[in-house]
């Protein structure tokens, strides 16, 4: 029966090519636009570290003085050197890392390359095991290296390709900002998007090439790069390690169970109380522990333009659907004669209804294919835009499936009313009026 309906639908669609074309075009445009924006939204709001995002928490405490305090206000986004080091050495979580961003000048060993600046991450050793960072060559540094302020670095594989042509560079020396560093590791393909652990620099497509111990970076006098929030008489400047009135470091912890997270939160409150009794903190304990997705959500990491575009595209899809409903109604009503004959010869309403829905489904399928092509084109346009997330805009299998489900679903929905109307015509009067 289904085959017969398909055959009928094909014949009918072929009979009025202009109307069919209009319907397919409308669905394709609506689907193309929505899938383009939805894919961008999907990519941008994706989970940067699936499988572990619920166990990783960003720590916020409030070390500021009572000046400007309002109950219920958010604590600071980052921590100061002294608090960060206290929390790091307290070892209250399974894994923890204190970090900040930076920029270092690289003097390449090959003289054919001009010196250049590269984004860097200054972090304690917990970073690599906590974020499950893969290594191509060598290894990460240890807590002892942190303590010793060892002059060593880990490179991203992109930077390793650029400097050493992709060869194993472990054991070689690299000159950074006028100092010599020993390369002890090269990362594998690792680039979490969004750049969740530090949203100060750039939320997407941040590619840090150099990783070095946080203590080493301060020892070498490298400036940090990113946000600095100061209070009281604090000010940004040189030697931030002596400055306890500026927050410029991110502190992340791994806590595997909700019970551990609750306990850690208690620990942070106790820490704040202790600091308050020492006279360093003045505010009542104000702590937050947000996991990766909560942290991204809190920072509204998806650009508002992208969200607006998604709504706009769905508005377009809605108009296209209304348009398709109208055109299908026109098409089905025009076939009153044919449908009446089929009714008179014994086809039930349900059979006619199914037949018409098969026809709408076929329009949807064609619209979905058209929409897919338009979405691929749209994503190509997005990729050639200067936005920082541009290169991420690719269709994945899930979105491909959604495209067709959405297209066929939408056209079936658009076909429901016209089909219902068309198969409720009294066959006798329709036949007579012929």
């Amino acid at each position: 029966m289904f085959g017969y309906y398909l055959d009928l639908a094909l014949r009918s669609l072929r009979r009025n090519k202009v109307l069919t074309g209009l319907m397919v075009l409308a669905i394709a445009l609506g689907i193309g636009a929505s899938m383009t924006t939805l894919t961008v939204l999907h990519v941008l709001s994706g989970n940067p570290i699936p499988g572990k995002s619920a166990q990783l928490y960003h720590v916020q405490i409030d070390p500021r003085d009572s000046f400007g305090y309002r109950p219920g206000m958010e604590p600071m986004d980052q921590v100061s050197w002294i608090d960060g080091m206290n929390l790091l050495h307290a070892q209250g979580a399974q894994q923890q890392a204190l970090m900040t961003g930076g920029r270092v000048a690289i003097q390449p060993p090959r003289t054919t390359l001009d010196p250049f600046f590269e984004a860097a991450r200054y972090t304690s050793a917990g970073f690599f095991p906590m974020f499950d960072v893969p290594f191509q060559y060598g290894r990460a540094w240890t807590a002892k290296d942190d303590q010793d302020r060892a002059r060593l670095v880990v490179l991203s594989h992109v930077l390793n390709d650029k400097l050493f042509g992709g060869k194993n560079s472990v054991g070689k020396m690299l000159r950074l900002g006028g100092h010599d560093f020993l390369i002890i590791g090269v990362l594998g393909d690792w680039r979490p998007n969004p750049h969740f652990y530090d949203l100060n620099v750039q939320s997407y497509n941040e590619d840090e090439g150099v990783y070095m111990p946080l203590t080493t970076s301060q020892d070498a006098g490298f400036d940090h790069d990113g946000g600095t929030d100061c209070w009281g008489n604090g000010a940004d400047g040189k030697d931030m390690t002596r400055n306890d009135h500026c927050a410029w470091l991110q502190f992340w912890v791994q806590l595997d169970t909700p019970a551990k997270a609750t306990a850690y939160k208690q620990f942070l409150i106790r820490y704040s109380e202790e600091q308050k009794s020492l006279g360093r903190f003045q505010r009542p304990p104000n702590v937050r522990l947000r996991n990766v997705m909560q942290w991204l959500d809190y920072n509204q990491v998806v650009p508002s333009n992208v969200r607006l575009q998604t709504w706009l595209a769905f508005g377009l899809l809605l108009v296209c659907l209304v348009n398709t409903v109208g055109l299908m109604l026109a098409k089905f009503m025009r076939r009153q004669g044919e449908l009446s004959v089929r009714r008179a010869m014994g086809a039930s309403r349900r059979m006619l209804f199914t037949q018409l829905l098969v026809e709408s489904g076929m329009v949807g399928l064609a619209g979905g294919i058209g929409g897919l092509l338009l979405a691929l084109m749209g994503l190509w346009v997005v990729r050639h835009r200067p936005a920082e997330y541009a290169s991420l805009a690719h269709l994945d299998p899930a979105m491909l499936l959604i495209t067709f489900v959405l297209a066929i679903g939408a056209s079936l929905l658009a076909g429901l009313l016209p089909a219902w109307r068309a198969c409720h015509i009294a066959p006798a009067s329709a036949l007579k009026s012929q």
């Binding site: 636009a33 400007g68 600046f117 706009l312 109208g326 055109l327 026109a330």
Partner: protein, 409 residues
């Protein structure tokens, strides 16, 4: 032209009519709001900066590691840049309008719990003549008022007021915001940990580097001289607009020749720097224009498609009307009037929807109210579109010969 028969006919096609009205209303609401967003984006993109935009080039350099003699080297660089033919002014500044950089909270009294306002902070020797900003009151900085950036940072860390600047030049907008009725000259405001700055001059306009939503024209200049250290400032070179490309090329070559062991982070004309800052707005405006065009095309196709369905359905009635005396013009006008009525109704509902949509958008984005003049423009556009879409089917209807009336099918 009789309207009543049209209503009588439409009553028999309620569903299709309502679908058309709904489609037109949705299109009207979305297009009105999109046009408004486009206008907002364009307005932002064309915001004046207050500086001689078409005469400036920017070169951002950085040393590798710290240079103890960076002050002297900076002076050598500036002298070399001044030698380039066609160059009128040169400065090393910390930031430019429409770029990156921090802003400062401004207080009128020391110990004020909440800041009075937030403004962009500029510094760099010879900044005012190079930017070409107009001083409308007071004076420019005297050479002895300048401190170096290292000195100022040290001053902040050590709490020594002697190492800090004491005066500032503010924009007119900032002066009016802080002292609405009084003369700003001679007044004092406070930044950071209560550093006092006395106003000695007022500028016509100098747009802040970023955070434009906090008041684009709020900015001030302090007498700090920038040193070319680790990725710090930008050289800004002023010349005639037609010389810019050559000056930029020569300047980069000259700076590299003076000291090859440093990195050029950016070199571009100010127009390019400005365009880069507004890229997101530009691509958003492009997207909105695209969506509007697609919406209008789809709506036009929908109107045209349904009109041809109606024409086909009413062939016999048209034939009868022609047979009993209606002219081709009558038939043509019948369909045009019908379309006009439906579109008008759609526009009426669409206007309401447009305001609802605007209210929703205002809740989530920083947007003002939709101005009323968008409505007549939107209405005219949709009426025109409707008439254009219906013309083809209406002409086909007018071409139906009267003899159709006598045929059975």
């Amino acid at each position: 032209m009789q309207i009543l028969p049209i209503f009588a006919a439409l009553r028999r096609h309620k569903l299709v009519m309502w679908l058309l009205i709904l489609e037109i209303a949705l299109t009207c609401a979305i297009v009105c709001n999109s046009m408004f967003l486009i206008a907002q984006n364009l307005q932002r993109m064309h915001m004046p900066s207050g500086i001689a935009e078409h005469e400036l080039v920017q070169i951002q350099m950085a040393y590798i590691g710290t240079r103890p003699d960076s002050g002297a080297r900076t002076q050598a660089d500036l002298a070399a840049l001044r030698q380039i033919p066609g160059v009128t002014q040169v400065a090393l500044v910390d930031k430019l309008p429409f770029g990156s950089g921090n802003n400062s909270n401004i207080k009128l009294k020391p110990d004020q719990p909440q800041p009075s306002m937030n403004a962009g902070l500029y510094f760099g020797e010879n900044l005012l003549p190079t930017f070409g900003v107009k001083l409308i009151a007071g004076r420019s900085f005297a050479p002895e008022e300048f401190v170096t950036l290292d000195q100022a940072l040290q001053g902040i860390n050590d709490n020594s007021p002697n190492d800090l600047p004491h005066v500032a030049i503010v924009t007119q907008a900032m002066a009016q915001r802080l002292w609405p009725v009084q003369n700003a000259l001679g007044k004092t405001f406070y930044i950071g940990k209560d550093i006092p700055l006395r106003v000695v001059g007022v500028l016509a306009r100098l747009t802040r580097p970023n955070t434009l939503q906090a008041g684009p024209a709020f900015s001030f200049v302090v007498p700090i001289s920038e040193n070319l250290s680790d990725g710090g400032g930008s050289y800004v070179v002023r010349s005639k607009p037609q010389d810019r490309a050559r000056v930029l090329r020569d300047a980069v070559a000259k700076l590299k020749a003076i000291d090859p062991n440093r990195v050029v982070l950016a070199h571009r004309t100010y127009d390019e720097a400005r365009a880069a800052f507004f890229q997101a707005d530009q691509s958003m405006a492009g997207t909105l224009v695209g969506v509007c065009v697609v919406l209008l095309v789809v709506t036009a196709l929908g109107i045209g498609g349904l009109a041809s369905f109606w024409v086909a359905q009413r062939r016999k009635q048209i034939g009868i009307r022609r047979a009993i005396g209606a002219t081709r013009g009558d038939i043509l006008r019948y369909f045009q009037t019908e379309n006009f009525l439906i579109v008008s109704f759609g526009i009426a509902i669409g206007m309401l929807l447009a305001f609802v949509l605007n209210a929703v958008l205002m809740k989530f984005y920083e947007l003002p109210h939709l101005p009323l003049y968008y409505l007549p423009i939107g209405a005219l556009a949709l009426w025109g579109l409707g008439q254009l879409a219906v013309l083809g089917p209406a002409l086909r209807a007018a071409a139906v010969p009267p003899v159709v009336a006598t045929r059975s099918v």
